[in-house]
Symmetry: C2
Subunit: 428 residues, 2 copies
C-alpha cells in the first residue's frame, strides 16, 4: 500500500469518493458505541461480584488491630488495608493513608489543601500571585481539570516513550519558584501506555526544585494493570528513590482499586513521607472522623494480599486483552504504511494513544460521532483541552465487547482515512 | 437537702473531707469509662448487622434508573438514595445530592469550596481580609474546628431553649458583610438537645444578611433520633421556609445515616436550592466521578423508605433511652436542690448538657479523668475551645452500657460536688 502522501490529486479524489460512500453506509448502520472513557466493562464488574459476599451479618467486624470498622475512628485507615495498598504501590504501610472510594478525590483534596493551607508550612497558594504545574501531555484530562479549577497555570511538557521530557522538567523546576507540581501517570500512562524508564524516575527523584513546596503528583493508577503475562512493565519505586536522593518529601503517590474491584466503590490511598502524611492528617482530622472502614475490610478479606490482587488482575487482563488486540489488529491491517497515523501498543493500562496527521484529530472524532462512535474529545489529553497540533486521540477499549471494539475501530480507521484525504487535498 | 451556697464554712469543710474520702475510694476502683463522644454502642451496631446481607453476589446491581452502581458515574447519587435522604430531611429529592460516608466531610468541603471559589459567584473567601461565622454555643466542636481551620473568625451566639439568640443573630447578620455563615444543629442540638422553635426557624428564613454569600449551615444530624414514642420534637422545614421568605438560596442542609446505620460507613447528603446545587456540582465534577453508589443502594434496599428508618430508630431509642435515664436518675437523685448544677432533659439526640457553677467545668472534667471517666474536654462546646464561664460539660451517654452509665454518673456527681465545695470555700 502506498502512503497517502504519495498519491496524486486524482488518486486522492477517487479515494475520497469511495471512502465517502463507505462512510455513508456506515452511518446507515446506526452504531451506538462508546470508547470515550476508561470504564470497566460489565464483564469485569461481574467477575468481582464475590466480593459482595465477603462480609455478612455473621462477620467479625473488627480489624486485625481490634478496631470496630462499623464505628467512628481509625481516620487513616485500618492496618490491613494500609498493607494491601502499600503492596500495590511497593511502599511501606507506614507511608500510607487509606481514604474513600476514589484517588481522584484525594488528588483534588491535596491540591485544594495546598491552596488553602500550603504544603508542610509553606505559604498557602491562594496567597501567591502565580502558581504553575507541569503537565506532561498527552495526559489525563481529570488531572488538568483539577489544576485549572484552582486557577493554576499549566505548562505542557512533551511525553516521550521514556516519560516526560526530563531536560525540560529539570530546567523549569529548578528555575521557577512558582512551579509547585507535576502530574505523572508513571506506569502505563494515560493515554499512551508508556512506563517511565529507570533513568526518568531517578531524574525525578533528583530534581532540585526552586520551590520548597514542589511535589511530584505520582498517580500510580495502573500499578498492577498488565495486559500480558510475558510482557509486563515495572517502574522504580519513587518514594525510596526520592529518599535516596535526599528528597524524601518531594512526592505524593496515589492509587486505588477502582479498576481492580469496582470503579464506583473501591478504596483509594495516598503514599508519602511521614512529614507529608503528618501535615495531611492535620487537615484530615478536621475533615473527617474516618472513611468507610467496612469497605476497606471487605477489600482485604476478599483479596487477602497482593497475590490475590495479581490473580484477580490476570482475569481482568484476559477480558481486556482481546479488546486491545481487536483495536490493534484493525489498525495494523488498515493503516500500516499509509502515513496517516501512528499508535501505541501498551503492555497494560486502559488506553491506546493514536496520533493523526496534524490538524485532523478533531475532525476524526467528529466524524466518528456522526456515525455513532463516541471517542474522548479531541484535545482532552492536553491542558485547557487544547492540543496544539490537533493530532492526538485517546482510544479507550475497555467498555465495549471485543466484537464491538472491532466494529468501532473499523469505523475509526475509515474516518481517519477520510479526514486525512480531505486534509491532503486541502493542502494541495 | 440544703443548697451548698447556704452551708457554713464548717459544714463545707466537713462535706469536703467526706467527699474527698469518697473520691479516693472511687479512684481505687480503677474505672475505665468513656462518655466523651457521641459514639453508637456496639449493641446499636449489632442491631443493624442485617444490612450486611442486603447486597450479595446474586443481587441486581442496577439502581431504579438503570445505573450500574458498581461502575463510574452518577455523581450526585442514585435516585432512590436521594429520595431516602430527602425524606429524612423533609425536602424534595430534587434538592438533594448524596455523597460519601460522612456529613462532616460535606460541611468541610462546603466551607473549603467557599474559601477557594466563593459561593454562587461571590468573591472567594481567601481573597477577603476578614470572614466571620456565627457560632451558637454551647455547640458542636467539629463545626468550630472547621471554621477555625480556615482562619474564619468565630462569634459566639448564646443558645436558648428555643435556639440561638435570634435578636443577636439578626442584628449581626444584617449589619456585617463579613459574616458568611452560622452553624446550626436545629433539632436535638449538640450538646443541649434543644430543638429550634417555629419562630426561630421563621426568623432564620427571614434574615436579611448583608453578605450575599451568607448561608445557614443547617446540620440536621438528629432528624429522626428520638428517644421517646410520646415526646418527639419536630421542627419546621428550613428550605421551604426560606423559599417562602424569598431567600431560597440561603441554606445548606446536611444529614447522614451515621447514627442510623453505621457511624463509620453510612451515607451522607446535602440539601439546598437548585442554584446552590448547580454551583456545588461545578466543583464536584472536578473532585469526583461519583461517591460509593453500592453503599447507597445497600442502604435503600435495607431500609426501603422513611418508615423503615423510623422503625429502625425506634429500636435504637430502646437501647439509648435507658442510658439517658440512668444519667438523669443519678443527676436528679444526687444533685437536685444543691444549687451546684443544672442539666438538660432532651427528647432525642445524643447528648445531655450539664451546667456547673461558674469556673468549675474544667476541674470537674479533670477530676473525673483522674478516677477513670473520660468526658468531652471542658470548653470543647465553645469556639476556640474556650468556655468563657468555664461552666459547660457535655455528657455523651451512647457508648457505655446503662449500668456503666450509672457508675460513671455516680462518679461525675461526686466530682461535681467536690469541685463545687472547693470553689465555694475558695470564694469565702
Amino acid at each position: 500500500m502506498k502512503a497517502y502522501q504519495e498519491l496524486s490529486k486524482e488518486e486522492l479524489l477517487t479515494l475520497q469518493s469511495s471512502l465517502q460512500k463507505e462512510f455513508e453506509d456506515a452511518k446507515g448502520k446506526g452504531l451506538k458505541l462508546d470508547m470515550s472513557r476508561g470504564k470497566p466493562a460489565v464483564s469485569q464488574l461481574m467477575m468481582g461480584m464475590d466480593i459482595m459476599d465477603t462480609l455478612t451479618s455473621e462477620s467479625d467486624m473488627k480489624s486485625e488491630e481490634g478496631v470496630d470498622v462499623r464505628n467512628y475512628g481509625g481516620m487513616d485507615g485500618i492496618a490491613e488495608a494500609k498493607r494491601l495498598m502499600a503492596d500495590i504501590m511497593g511502599v511501606d504501610p507506614s507511608q500510607v493513608i487509606v481514604f474513600g472510594n476514589a484517588s481522584l478525590s484525594i488528588m483534588y483534596d491535596t491540591v485544594s489543601r495546598s491552596v488553602t493551607h500550603g504544603v508542610m508550612g509553606s505559604t498557602p497558594w491562594c496567597k501567591l500571585d502565580k502558581v504553575k504545574f507541569l503537565c506532561p501531555a498527552p495526559g489525563y484530562d481529570r488531572h488538568f481539570a483539577i489544576t485549572q479549577h484552582f486557577g493554576i497555570e499549566m505548562i505542557t511538557v512533551p511525553m516521550l516513550p521514556t516519560g516526560p521530557d526530563m531536560d525540560m522538567v529539570e530546567e523549569l523546576v529548578s528555575n521557577d519558584e512558582s512551579i509547585k507540581g507535576i502530574w505523572c501517570v508513571p506506569k502505563y500512562s494515560n493515554p499512551q501506555g508508556y512506563s517511565y524508564s529507570d533513568e526518568t524516575v531517578r531524574r525525578f527523584a533528583n530534581l532540585k526544585p526552586a520551590a520548597k513546596d514542589f511535589r511530584i503528583y505520582w498517580d500510580n493508577a495502573y500499578a498492577v494493570h498488565h495486559l500480558y503475562e510475558d510482557r509486563q512493565d515495572e517502574i522504580l519505586e519513587i518514594l525510596s528513590e526520592c529518599e535516596k536522593a535526599g528528597n524524601p518529601d518531594m512526592v505524593f503517590e496515589f492509587c486505588s482499586t477502582s479498576k481492580i474491584s469496582f470503579s464506583g466503590a473501591g478504596i483509594a490511598a495516598m503514599a508519602a513521607s511521614k512529614a507529608n502524611l503528618d501535615f495531611v492528617k492535620k487537615s484530615m482530622t478536621i475533615q473527617t472522623i474516618g472513611y468507610d472502614k467496612i469497605n476497606q475490610l471487605r477489600h482485604v478479606r476478599y483479596f487477602k494480599d497482593i497475590q490475590g490482587i495479581r490473580e484477580h488482575m490476570r482475569k481482568h487482563a484476559d477480558l481486556l486483552r482481546p479488546k486491545f488486540e481487536a483495536v490493534q489488529d484493525v489498525l495494523d491491517k488498515e493503516l500500516s504504511g499509509l502515513g496517516i497515523g501512528s499508535w501505541t501498543k501498551p503492555n497494560g493500562g486502559y488506553f491506546i494513544s493514536f496520533q493523526t496527521m496534524d490538524g485532523c484529530a478533531k475532525a476524526i472524532v467528529a466524524k466518528c460521532k456522526e456515525a455513532g462512535v463516541v471517542l474522548t474529545n479531541a484535545g482532552a489529553t492536553y491542558p485547557y483541552g487544547i492540543d496544539p497540533k490537533d493530532s492526538n486521540i485517546r482510544i479507550a477499549p475497555s467498555f465495549p465487547t471485543p466484537e464491538e471494539m472491532a466494529v468501532a475501530t473499523d469505523l475509526f480507521v475509515l474516518c481517519v482515512k477520510l479526514v486525512s484525504v480531505e486534509k491532503l487535498l486541502e493542502n494541495m
